[in-house]
Every structure is written in C-alpha cells, then in structure tokens.
C-alpha cells in the first residue's frame, strides 16, 4: 500500500464517506434513476434531494447529541422532545395563525426540555441515561396533553415551508441543518468550547483540576440538544402537516445515537466529529431509501434495516477490519 493510500485510509472521515458512497452506488445499481436530478418548479428534484430533506431533522438532533455524548453524556429523550415541540408548534399556529409565534413557542419548548435534562444531570447528579429516560417516557404524555389526545392537522400553508420548502433550489430543511452545523462548528473552533468539551469527555477529573468548569458547559450542551430537537420537531410536523404525539420522532433518539456513532464519535466521550455526524445521518436516510427501492415487505422492514446497520457497523469497525486483514494474510 502506498503512503498516500494509507494516509487517505486513516483520515477520520474516510470510512463514513466510503460507507455513504457504497450505499449510493448500491442504490444506483438497484434503481437506474436513483442519481437523476431534475429542475422543476424552480428547484432541484430527485431521490438524492429527497434524502437530503428527510435526513435534515435527524442531522439536527444528532448534532446536538454529538456534543452531549462528547462530554460523556447521553440524551435519550430527543424523540419525545420532538413530539412536544411538534405539538406546541402545531397548536400555536392553529390557534394564533402566526408562524413566528409557533416557531418561538416550539423552540422554547425544546429549550426548556433540554434545560430540565441538564439540571437533572448537573444539579441533581443523575446518570444521564436515567435522567433523560424520565423525559423520554413523560414527554409523549406531555405531547398528548398539549394535543388533547388528538392528531392536530395543520391547515396553515406558510408552515409547510419549514419541512417542504426550497431555498436557492435546495430543500430549506437541509439548508437549515447545514447552517446549524456550520455555525456550531465555527463556534467550537472560534472559542475554546471544543477544547473544553474534549477535555471533559476524555478525563473529567483532570479537566476539573485544570480549572475547566464542567457544570455550566454540560448544562448548556443538554439545553442545546433540546433546542435542536425542538427545531427537528418543527420540521417534522411541517413535513407531514400535522402533529402526532405518539409517532412524531418515534425512536429518533436511537437513530441519532447511531448517526453519531457512524460518524466516528466515541461513545465513551472525548473524540467527536460534527461532519461525521452529518454523514452518519445521511447514511441512515440512504439506508431507508435502499429498503424502499429493494421493495422489502413492510413487515420485515426493521429486521432488514438492522441487518444492513450490522454490516455497516462491521465495515466501520477498525477491529473487524484488522481481523479480516489477518485472515486474508494467513
């Protein structure tokens, strides 16, 4: 192997990118029209654009999750927070007819949920998985309470723009997710926040002795994670023009953790990559497309998805690749 090849292989984002490329090639071979892009009604149109649009809420939630995990935390309540934010936004826009008010209310709901999680972890000292389990369970009930147990249908056309609109020919939701990730990345590099998060994630005790104030930072990360879930809730409710307390963002927390892992962030904390997380979200959405284009029967859909994820994870595992290499050389 040449040294350039080895360098490329050891790039942190090489394997997530390779996995995504592989999935796209697989889809293109199954469905010849998969890569086609059309310009219709003033915007791009095609399977790839669909994937971008659908992956947006997941990418947003996973971005918040990345930072929480990087600082040795976990937030399994994001799916329920999506439902709360969706219900709040839908109710607000139906009641007042104001898009701005709906957005503010939904984001505030997400922020409050994140703050609650953060306080349980930082001030009460609960284990992150338990602290966020509370809202994971209670959150759907709260969403039910907001919607009055009904699925709220949204008849206000401007609201549709969040999940279905286009900006400069590309899906608005995808642009929004990209913008959030870019701004976040800028914040992490322009301030020492990235350094502090990694220090807390790698060695919390040493970070404390070095004078890093982990508590306010951790609180802020959970709050931000709640905010991204709120944003995702707005997009999802807009996309389906309704708020369903039971199904909005269902199991999204697991997809988000998966996207974070696929992107090369260590679940043990410390090492993280926002770009990797974005690619991870795209991998998961492309996987879903693959399942549709293969025509997998709905009843075995989940089993099939799990099998695909298993293969993807094996590909990404350095240990697995090493053992394959030793087998091959023997």
């Amino acid at each position: 192997m040449s040294s350039t090849a080895r360098k490329v292989l050891s790039l942190p984002l090489f394997w997530p990118c390779a996995t995504l490329a592989l999935l796209i090639v697989l889809n293109a071979s199954l469905n010849p029209g998969f890569l086609a892009l059309d310009w219709r009604d003033g915007h791009l149109y095609g399977n790839l654009i669909d994937i971008l649009n659908r992956a947006a809420p997941l990418a947003l939630v996973a971005a918040g999750m990345t930072l929480v995990i990087a600082a040795r935390g976990l937030d399994i309540s994001v799916g329920a927070v999506v439902a709360i934010a969706a219900a709040t936004g839908a109710l607000c826009v139906s009641a007042t007819g104001s898009l701005a008010l709906a957005i503010v209310a939904a984001l505030a709901a997400g922020l409050a949920c994140g703050l609650w999680n953060g306080l349980l972890v930082v001030a009460v000292g609960m284990q992150p998985i338990i602290a966020t389990l509370i809202l994971m369970v209670a959150g759907r009930g709260i969403a039910q309470l907001i919607t009055g147990g009904q699925i709220i249908t949204i008849y206000y056309p401007p609201y549709d723009y969040l999940g279905n609109g286009f900006l400069l020919g590309l899906p608005f939701a995808a642009m929004l997710a990209l913008a959030v990730i870019v701004v976040l990345h800028a914040l992490l590099t322009a301030t020492p926040l990235g350094l502090f998060i990694r220090a807390i994630g790698i060695n919390p005790l040493a970070a404390r002795i070095a004078g890093v104030r982990a508590r306010p930072i951790t609180l802020a990360l959970y709050t931000f994670c709640g905010l991204t879930a709120g944003l995702a809730g707005l997009i999802i409710s807009s996309n389906v023009k309704s708020a369903d307390a039971n199904n909005a963002g269902l199991l999204l927390e697991l997809d988000a953790i998966l996207a974070v892992t696929l992107g090369g962030t260590a679940l043990t904390g410390g090492r993280f990559s926002l770009a990797g997380t974005a690619i991870g979200a795209l991998i998961i959405q492309t996987l879903t497309s693959t399942i549709y284009s293969l025509g997998v029967p709905p009843e075995v859909n989940l089993v099939f998805k799990a099998a695909l994820i298993f293969v993807v994870m094996l590909l990404q595992s350095a240990e697995f690749r090493a053992s394959i290499r030793t087998l091959a050389t023997q």
Binding site: A190, T191, P192, L193, L195, F196, R198, A199, I202, N203, L205, A206, A207, R208, I209, A210, G211, V212, R213, I217, G270, R271
Partner: protein, 507 residues
C-alpha cells in the same frame, strides 16, 4: 510459632521485591509490619495469602510446609486477609456479606433455600463477639466505613480463625473508630488469634502491637518487641539512618521566629482542617520561598495540597490569599487566585491523554480566560514553544497526543501548564515521582529558579533528601497533623526526628 516464612525471595518481572525475608508470627500476638513505600510489605502479604505464588523460600504453618496458590486456598488453611479498601457488596445486608457463599441452608423437608433466621442469628453472635451491636439486616453500603471494616473482619475470622492479616485497616477511620477497631483486635488476640497489622500511622503501631517487623528495600531489617523499639529507632530502621529526637524542637522554634519578619505571605492558613483528612494546619508561604512538606506516606501531605487548591472543602479554619480570606470550593477558584497545582496522580488527575501536548499546556490558562476569549493561535504556539524549550520537553511534535510522552516529559508538561498561568503560588505534589535521576535534578533546578524569580512554591515529596536540597523551610506532617517546622539547611536526621517524635512530646 504459628506462621513462619523463611528466606522469601520474590521478583516482579526480574525486579526483586523481596530478597531473603524471614518472618515469624506467634499465636496470640498482634504483629505490626512496617516499612516505607516499596519496602516489600504488600509483596510479603501477597505471598503469605496466596495472591502471589511463592517463588523461593518456604512458608510453615504449625510446622507444616504450605504453598497457597490462591487466596481461597490460604483461607482454607486458616489465613484470612482484610484489605485497605473494603471489598464487600454494599447492596447486600450485613449478615449476607458475612456469610456470602456460605449461607446456612434449610432442610429440604422445610422447603430448602437460605435459612434467614439462622443466618441473621449467627451474624449477630459473631458481631457481638467483636463488641459490635447493629441490625444485621441493614444494607452494608448504608453503614459507616468503620462498621464495614468490622464486618469485613467478622467475615474473615469466621472463615478461618487462626491468622488474620489487616492491610492498612485504619486509613479511612477517625480516632474513635480506630479505638473500636483496636478493642476488637485485642479481643481476638486474647482468643489466641495471630494478627498481622500493616499501617502507616506510627502512634497506632504502639497502641496495639506486641512485636514489630521492619522491612526496607525488600530486606528484613529486624523483628523487635514493640516495648523495646522506640519511635526514633523505628523510624531509623524504616529509613535506614540514625535519628535523634533532641535537636528538632529547638530548631523548630528558631525557624518560627525567623519567619515573622518577612514579606506578606502569598497564602496562609489558620487552623485549616477537614474531618478524616487533616487536622489543624497552619502554613505561611511567602514570595520567593520553597516550602517543603515532609512526612511518611499517609501523613496527610496530599490532603493539605487538596485543601489549598479547593479540591476538597475544609470544614474548619481559614485560608488567606495575600492576606484576604478566601473560599476555595473548586479548583477554578484557586486558579482565579493565581494558584497552580501539579497533582501526584499524573495519569488520572493530570494529563488529558488524547489531547495534544499544546492543548494540555494551555488548558488551565484557557479555562481561566473563559469561554469567550480564545487564546489566539499564534500566542498559543509561541507560548507552548517557549515553555517546551524552557522546560526541555522532548517530543517529536507538540501537536502529538500527550499520552505518547514518557512520564518525565508528561510531568514537565503539567509544570508548563501551571507556569502558563503565571502563578504566584505553585503547589507540586510529588513532582519527581517515577522520573529518572537526571530528570529529577532538572525539575528541582527549575523549582529553585522559579523561586528566585519571586514565585512561592509548596513542594511535597516523600523523599526527604530532595526536600532538603531545595526548600527554604520544611513543614513536617505526621498522622495527618502538622508536627513542626524546620529551617532550610537542616539535616535529614532532624526531619526524621520530628517524624518519629512520640505524640506526647509535641504537646
């Protein structure tokens, strides 16, 4: 002679830890095993209890050769150990812990299963024999550490009641609890048990021991009746030099007088104390001064540093920085008062392993600057280059992870991290531990230079010769108390004399 070890030789990966050690334990005696760090106490215990397989030499129990290969086998032969850290299950009851794995069972005619009433009754009787009166159904984790220790002992003596080995049982107990433990030990001695007792507290040795065996550098120094070995002789045996207790007290006073005339201290403490950690510490550290903190392992040296840096909260007394009383509840507060700290546990408390050398060095400075002011890249590189050059940090690249460096270079990085904040007071806990001789000298030369530039330093070390080389004054700790202050230029003998002076002589 109940238990006898002869000519024990034991090596770890070719490095000898025990070199021809003889040891004898009689029935009905409490026998203290003493020695400094690395003297071979733990290895001897491990060999006797089967945690390490005997390499050379012989062990005799009741005149029979034994060769325990596991802890379990040693227990079956009658040798039980209670370790420093209580290793029982906090989520089980007291009685369950005592009989875990050996629960009395009901007969099948009565349904089988554990006979709870017999279990609890036997636990009560056993604990009563140690003069412990508690509800044996209580969850162990909810009991004070002292009680947990008693439960561990109860379990050990119930499994096999001939030889009991207690490895630093008192290190987490306060004085009342220690007294209770000693009462129980005396009771067991009367019943004919042989007890081997390891501790770092000199006064405790005399309170209960009948005999004392001293090890040094893996060799036996001697086996003495406790009544015939005074404090000074014991310390002399441990450290390998003669100690006199006479001169110390005089020097202590003259040093104290010389202090009063100098500049305002950077930091001073007044009766600073924390229960179960240190009692009543009074320190003054002035600019340009290296204050040495001496004492044996477990004397409270590190605990003082933790209080001064806000890592532990004091529950009595006062800390003043530049004459102003301050509250230090968090290291970040100490850092804001321009205090810097290099911890003893380099790996777990010092370095952030996967971060680069540069990031590790600027971490504290950046944390003090806050979240909204980032150290500009050019300054970051200039600062780390300068510090790396000054401290001679040898690394292929300063952008490499700090985990790649040798221990000595990691230590220099931690000193660099402290210096980057331009501290007025630098606290160093065992900065030379695990570093080769040349590296040690380098670090000590640097400390002297910092002091010459007006920095105040608190230098903690177990190696008295190091302290003497650089300190302008030396505070001596023993049994978690400050027992005296000596001027710079005093002798090792004087330091050891204070360490060894019997408690009464100091009051």
């Amino acid at each position: 002679m109940l238990l006898q070890a002869r000519g024990i030789v034991h090596a770890y990966a070719g490095k000898p830890a025990l070199d021809g050690v003889d040891f004898a334990l009689r029935a009905g005696e409490i026998h203290a095993l003493m020695g400094q760090n690395g003297a071979g106490k733990s290895t001897l215990i491990k060999v006797l209890t089967g945690a390490e397989v005997l390499q050379r030499g012989s062990i005799l129990l009741d005149g029979q050769r034994i060769r325990p290969a596991t802890n379990r086998e040693a227990q079956r032969l009658g040798i039980s150990t209670v370790y420093q850290e209580v290793n029982l299950c906090g989520n089980l009851s007291v009685a369950e812990n005592i009989f875990a794995g050996r629960q009395p069972l009901r007969r099948w005619t009565r349904g089988g299963g554990i006979d709870w009433s017999a279990l609890n009754q036997r636990a009560r009787t056993l604990l009563a024999s140690l003069d412990v009166d508690i509800d044996v159904r209580r969850e162990l984790g909810a009991c004070p550490v002292a009680l947990q220790q008693m439960v561990a002992i109860a379990r050990a003596i119930d499994i096999s009641a001939r030889v009991l080995i207690l490895d630093e049982p008192t290190s987490s107990l306060d004085s009342d609890e220690v007294e209770k433990l000693f009462t129980a030990m005396r009771r067991l001695r009367e019943s004919g048990m042989a007890i081997l007792f390891v501790t770092h507290f000199l006064d405790q040795v005399y309170a209960v021991s009948d005999r004392i065996t001293v090890l040094r550098n893996g060799r036996l120094v001697g086996d003495y009746p406790a009544a015939q070995l005074d404090h000074a002789a014991l310390v002399a045996a441990m450290v390998g030099r003669k100690v006199s207790t006479q001169s110390a007290a005089v020097e202590k006073e003259s040093a104290a007088r010389a202090d009063e005339t100098r500049a305002l201290p950077v930091m001073s403490t007044h009766d600073l104390a924390r229960r179960g950690s240190v009692a009543s510490v009074n320190l003054e550290i002035r600019p340009g001064e290296i204050l040495g903190l001496a004492g044996l392992l477990g004397s409270g040296r590190t605990e003082v540093a933790r209080l001064l840096f806000g890592l532990d909260r004091a529950d009595a007394g006062e800390i003043r920085v530049s004459g102003q009383p301050v509250a230090l509840d968090d290291p970040a507060q100490a850092i804001a008062h321009t205090i810097a700290f290099c911890p003893e546990e380099r790996k777990t408390e010092g370095i952030v392993e996967d971060l680069s050398i540069r990031d590790n060095i600027v971490l504290t400075l950046q944390a003090r600057m806050g979240l909204w002011r980032k150290l500009p890249d050019s300054e970051r590189i200039e600062l780390t280059n300068r510090l790396a050059q000054m401290l001679d940090i040898r690394a292929a690249s300063l952008d490499a992870p700090i985990g790649d460096l040798s221990g000595g270079n990691q230590q220099k990085c931690l000193i660099a991290r402290a210096l980057a904040t331009r501290p007025r007071l630098l606290i160093l806990d065992e900065p030379t531990r695990g570093i080769d001789v040349a590296g040690k000298q380098e670090i000590m030369n640097q400390l002297t230079q910092f002091a010459a530039q007006g920095m105040a330093l608190l230098f903690i070390s177990a190696e008295v010769d190091e302290l003497l080389r650089v300190s302008t004054r030396i505070v001596v700790m023993r049994d978690r108390r400050q027992v005296g202050t000596l001027p710079g230029g005093c002798t090792e003998d004087q330091v050891y004399a204070l360490i060894a002076a019997p408690a009464e002589a100091l009051h």
